[in-house]
Amino acid sequence: MNQQAARNNPVNRVWKFFASVKLSVVVLLALAATSVIGTLIPQNASPMMYMQRYGDTLYPVFKALGFFDMYHAWWFRLLLGLLTVNIIVCSIDRLSATWKIIFPRKINFQASRFRKSKERVEWREGDAPDQLFNTCKEFVSRHFRHVSTQDTDNGTLVFGEKGRWTRLGVYAVHTSILLMVIGGLIGSLYGFEGFTNVSEGEAVQRISLKNSNKKKTLPFAIRCDDFSISHYESGMPKEYRSTVSILKDQEAVHQADIRVNDPLRYKGINIFQSSYGRIPEKFTIVFADPGSGIAYEKQASLGSRIEMPANKGTLIIEDFRDNFRLRGHNIGDSFICRIKRGGQEEDGQTGNFFALPLNYPRFDRMRQGDFVISAKNVDFRYYTGLQITRDPGVPIVYVGFAIIIIGCYITFFMQHKQICVELRGSREGTDMMLACISPKNRPGMKAASRKVALQLQNQLQSRER
């Protein structure tokens, strides 16, 4: 009755639920299945792109389900949390039993298990059991720990055992997973992942954070002293290199070259070469009158506001893009502009943006505006795209990495092994039986038994000489 009550106790039931390996298998497969979604739907892209791709009906559904950032969605985190709790409860639940096996008060061997095992090897020696016994015992104790002997009616049994501790391997693996989870959590709580573009000669201290609109101020400024690209003869890129200086109170305290695969680590903050680009510094804007063909030229830079001839409005150079795509076509390097008419309210959102591709000066005719606008004589300056991260969880994750490999190796390839050598006296001498068994009962055990038997036979022979 008491036992029944204990079984129905809600705490016990919850414990049992989390201690079940069925749950582990279900959660592992559920994680595998749901992870596929995020590889088919691009993650953290712009809402525009999702609208285009999935339309009015699917977009809100996917958005509600968190598919656009699914690895951070509540339900995916719930699955990860479930797995974590499952691992912890399972390990605690089974550890006490394993502990008793690894550190028993008394080791018991059952001769029948060895005598019946398929792995056993049998042969005959010419000498009597007591002449062989010492060599056998020595042999077993050389290869195994925990050696014990037992007398039978007509001979002796020598038992040996080793590798009990290898049963702890699986706990190492589970601990390593927990370490990775903890390290990951620390990283997401106390770390950051940001990026910034720094043009040559400039310094930046405020960077943008990834997947959010937030900014972050670094404890130092990063100045790009130089950026260079080198190419192989075939034209493939060989090296991207940024020479940067770390500035504190406008003063350079450290200088280093950053290359792909060769970041700068400074005071726990890592700076990586991530991309590069060009920004137009100075250029000329040409306004051509479509009727008369007369051209007016004006000097401009990014963000310039240029009064158009004949009071036709103000041209604002908003942006510059490498390989700008317009309705699916790549029109190359382009300025993005808009025109503000006199008297109208300033409104950055509603203005009609249009592109001025450098390669096609007559492109703007299609707009059929007051002027055909184009850009020329562009002076470019390189900027380097840097990724800037801090992740204090990394050392813990790395310890997890090391432990999981060691743990998997122990769990898979080392085993708790037992050996039994039986010496049975007979008229012709001694009937020998040797068996190596493992609780995991691998097919290799037969071969292992043969190998060990052969070694023992050699040993027994050399004794005679």
Partner: protein
């Protein structure tokens, strides 16, 4: 002077020959073709390894100097080497020629596919210029080879388990289902260890190159999916006592994930698309 590509063409043919010999030996229950098949495998492995070393030397002669593990072609060639070496080892260790029957076609197909893709030696782009490249590719592909052999054994399992009665059929040569089940498990464990190491070396490298050890890039995610499938197989087997058919099914599912991780992800956007 023979080039590495020339060697690989010959090797592809020899792997094909091994496949034929294994098949003939199985169907006609003859010993000689099985011996020829093993010999062909040994020759192919030697040539495969020699070719890789030669290609490495060639890349130095061209002035690029990098281990031949940098693109789809080179990875396929290395995958064939790993798979063939692994099945030859199993064959010798457990005296099971039948493993070659199902594993040699995988090595052959990898080489045949390699002959269809761009085989020129290219210099390394900046993202690949790292010592982690070698550790990452080697561990991943040894793991894939383990899973490939496990997949072959699973197929053998289905054939054997599907055969109605023993005696006088070609399925007699296939070892007992328990043996196949155990071998399948062994190969999955082997693959799992190396896949784990592959994912980890990849993560450490990613942290070195991009500042994050895990970014849910499609290739990373698919390698994790593969890892999760095999992890569930190991748990189902060790803790729930699953054996036989269900394990073979999971092993096949895992290998499909491996194939997708390897080839399918190239169709998705990400850092690992080889082209």
């Amino acid at each position: 002077m023979i080039t590495s590509s020339g060697i690989f063409s010959i090797i592809t043919f020899i792997y094909g020959l091994a496949v034929v010999f294994y098949a003939v030996s199985w169907v006609f229950k003859k010993e000689l073709p099985a011996k020829l098949a093993s010999a062909a495998t040994v020759v192919a492995i030697a040539g495969n390894l020699g070719g890789i070393i030669l290609r490495w030397i060639e890349s130095y002669q061209m002035g690029y100097g990098h281990a031949p593990l940098s693109n789809l072609y080179e990875s396929l060639v290395f995958f064939a080497l790993c798979t063939a070496t692994l099945y030859l080892y199993l064959q010798l260790r457990y005296k099971l020629r039948i493993v070659g029957l199902v594993a040699s076609p995988i090595a052959f197909l990898a080489m045949a596919y390699a002959s269809l893709v761009n085989s020129s030696i290219e210099p390394l782009i900046p993202a690949l210029q790292s010592n982690w490249l070698i550790a990452h590719v080697i561990t991943c592909f040894i793991g894939y080879a383990g899973f490939a052999v496990a997949f072959g054994i699973s197929i053998l399992y289905f054939i054997k388990a599907g055969s109605s009665k023993p005696g006088q059929t070609i399925t007699d040569k296939i070892p007992h289902v328990d043996m196949l089940d155990e071998l399948n498990h062994q190969m999955v464990m082997f693959g799992f260890l190396f896949l784990s190491a592959g994912i980890i070396t990849g993560a450490v490298w990613a942290n070195q190159a991009w500042g994050r050890y895990w970014g849910w890039d499609p290739k990373e995610t698919w390698s994790l999916i593969t890892w999760l499938i095999y992890a569930s197989l190991l748990h189902a087997r060790l803790m729930r006592g699953w054996t036989g058919r269900r394990i073979a099914v999971l092993s096949c599912a895992g290998f499909i994930a491996v194939i997708f991780t390897y080839f399918g992800v190239n169709l998705l956007p990400g850092l690992h698309s080889y082209q």
